[in-house]
Symmetry: C2
Subunit: 424 residues, 2 copies
Amino acid sequence: MKSAIAELEAKGRAAREASKRLAYLATDIKNRALNNISRDLLARKDEILAANREDYKEAEASGMNAAMLDRLMLSESRLEAIAGDVLNVAALPDPVGEVFDMRTQPNGLLIGKKRVPLGVIGAIYESRPNVTIDISSLCLKSGNAVLLRGGKEAIRSNSALAGVVQDASLNAGMPDGAVQCVENTDRALVDHMLTMRNVIDLIIPRGGAGLIRSVVERAAMPVLTGGIGVCHTYVDKSADVEKAVAIIYNAKVQRPTVCNALDTLLVHADIAGGCLPLIAAELAKAGVELHCDRPALAILKNQSGLKLVPATDEDWGKEFLSLVAAIKVVDSLDAALAHIEHYGSGHSEAILTEDYTSATRFLNEVDAACVYVNASTRFTDGAQFGLGAEVGISTQKFHARGPLGLKELTTYKWIIYGSGQVRM
Amino acid sequence: MKSAIAELEAKGRAAREASKRLAYLATDIKNRALNNISRDLLARKDEILAANREDYKEAEASGMNAAMLDRLMLSESRLEAIAGDVLNVAALPDPVGEVFDMRTQPNGLLIGKKRVPLGVIGAIYESRPNVTIDISSLCLKSGNAVLLRGGKEAIRSNSALAGVVQDASLNAGMPDGAVQCVENTDRALVDHMLTMRNVIDLIIPRGGAGLIRSVVERAAMPVLTGGIGVCHTYVDKSADVEKAVAIIYNAKVQRPTVCNALDTLLVHADIAGGCLPLIAAELAKAGVELHCDRPALAILKNQSGLKLVPATDEDWGKEFLSLVAAIKVVDSLDAALAHIEHYGSGHSEAILTEDYTSATRFLNEVDAACVYVNASTRFTDGAQFGLGAEVGISTQKFHARGPLGLKELTTYKWIIYGSGQVRM
């Protein structure tokens, strides 16, 4: 264990060393590295797929469930998609080097901010080997070195992918050591990694709620993450029912397993009798199970073809990640706002309304990363928001909120051009 | 203790409740509150000064040293200065409500960011009672509620000042509970406060290095702070000696007790023989003690009127906070960069040079909050940088770096205006 920790620390130091040159590397070199990575992922596909087959066989033998096995599996078409994503990152503008808020002070000092990388990013993630490439390409483009620690179940795949990234970026002229892969999968190494605050500037955990919580609680350095999305959509009494039905169906059904999918539907009492049957009928087409409070149950109970369950206290504030929605009838916008404040996770919240003042109040008063009027919460996503790629969605308020793109992997430094000024 | 913790938690909840209305309060009301506070600090000066006299007497009796007593003491003229600072904050633009990066996506969604307060700020500080007013006024202007926990030695002064803030802001129409003062000075309450991450969004510690370190290590929520400034000034071989002498004198002498004062002087070997005697003679006028490495000592040893001490390993990377400077002769810009990287605290670093490429390399390669060419590091300050007031100077990379103004007490939320959009 001692030697594994020493090795981890050596990788950290190498990443730190590389980060110094990466910080002001020309965009051309970074893009060339990304283009090389994309090309070599395909050129070296046999090696990658062979490593992945070994991981897969072992995971299958150990009894991993089908969903997890599917996440672990790479194929030629999946590799092509991953290689395509790397090209997308190459095409994005380089966030580093932007100079902003520059102005000349009365004493002649020219003072402004210059965007710079954070330094070394530590990534801790589970099963999906594509994360190795996603995070590496975003870190390299934003001028950060990266220390990758993927899950045990994908260790051979991750090593093969990291090898491609390392070779391809070295060939492009990137500094040696910019991408480090921790190949020892002992859990104690994660614990140690979370203490390395002199080397790692930021930790990005990617995986289930358990992993994220554990990292947040133990990391000695900042953590950039979101993780949990308990998303509400509130149907105001003035909502356009036709729009509401389509938006709610989309928010719940289009991809129910992700964090920006609808969890709880709040419906104003004045409109519930008219619109709930239509919404329920639409959701029933996808087999959505509805956990209804008493008033909602009273409205829907005689409607055929629905999967109705009386809601319990556990339904409010729950992230279902499946074809289940909780439904509650509320007496007012204020009641909806109070419910969201109490049960929301600060991810994505929507109001469906034709009333200007209700829309304005909702936008002002809801404290969440993303607040919508008349649209599906499913849009909370870096690509949909126009950021290109994303490393995740933050539900914290510090540093960055919502979809995290390249810019969120940077910080700034103040640069001051003087000509002999002294302070009076 | 149990009841004190219950009271602290009640104050936290009250601040959280107030923060909801504060978040979208009109700038007019916030400014009216600040104007009232400024006026009432003077109108109620007798009450404040009486409370301060009691604190002072007790501190004096307990044997507090003169410097600390001076920091604790309020006078009519100090109150006038504090009241004036509050008016300055009132005059600054309101950071809240700014909408930026707003654009229409191809599907018609209008997506952008809106600047919003962080929520509830917890302030933990020592002795200087003016911090009560500084932090309160900056928090209120930026729409944040604040939970104040000042030091035991200034408890009566802080209570009196917080009382003025509370009354004056209530009268202006601010929500009740926006400013909370923790009047129980038991240390266990600080420990408990640092666990209240459901109520406090950000902790700002103000005080000595010990206090700051302890808060950073124990806080369960983000901490915004800097604290330590080990500042280097590097005299390049192409430096203009006259400028260098003036800048170095200013950086070391103008106010030696603060974090942006010069600690270590690095001098290129090619110019050391010519400029060190002039620099040393100038610093000697203020009685600066020079901790010299061997080459510097060799140059200066026969010069009269200097306080010379051979440097030891402890001198490098030390924040002197007094009229002491360490001096080291280096062979190259690279050696200077390496020294700064190893010993700097990421606060303020300067190069003095007439060479374009040296200046550019220094600006690019030094990883610090503020990087200077040909100016005194003493300029690292919110007011000098054009931010108006400041809550401190950050040496962390996350969220904000360098002087922290009103904007750094805010975050943003994404706001999305739809017209029925669903995700494909």
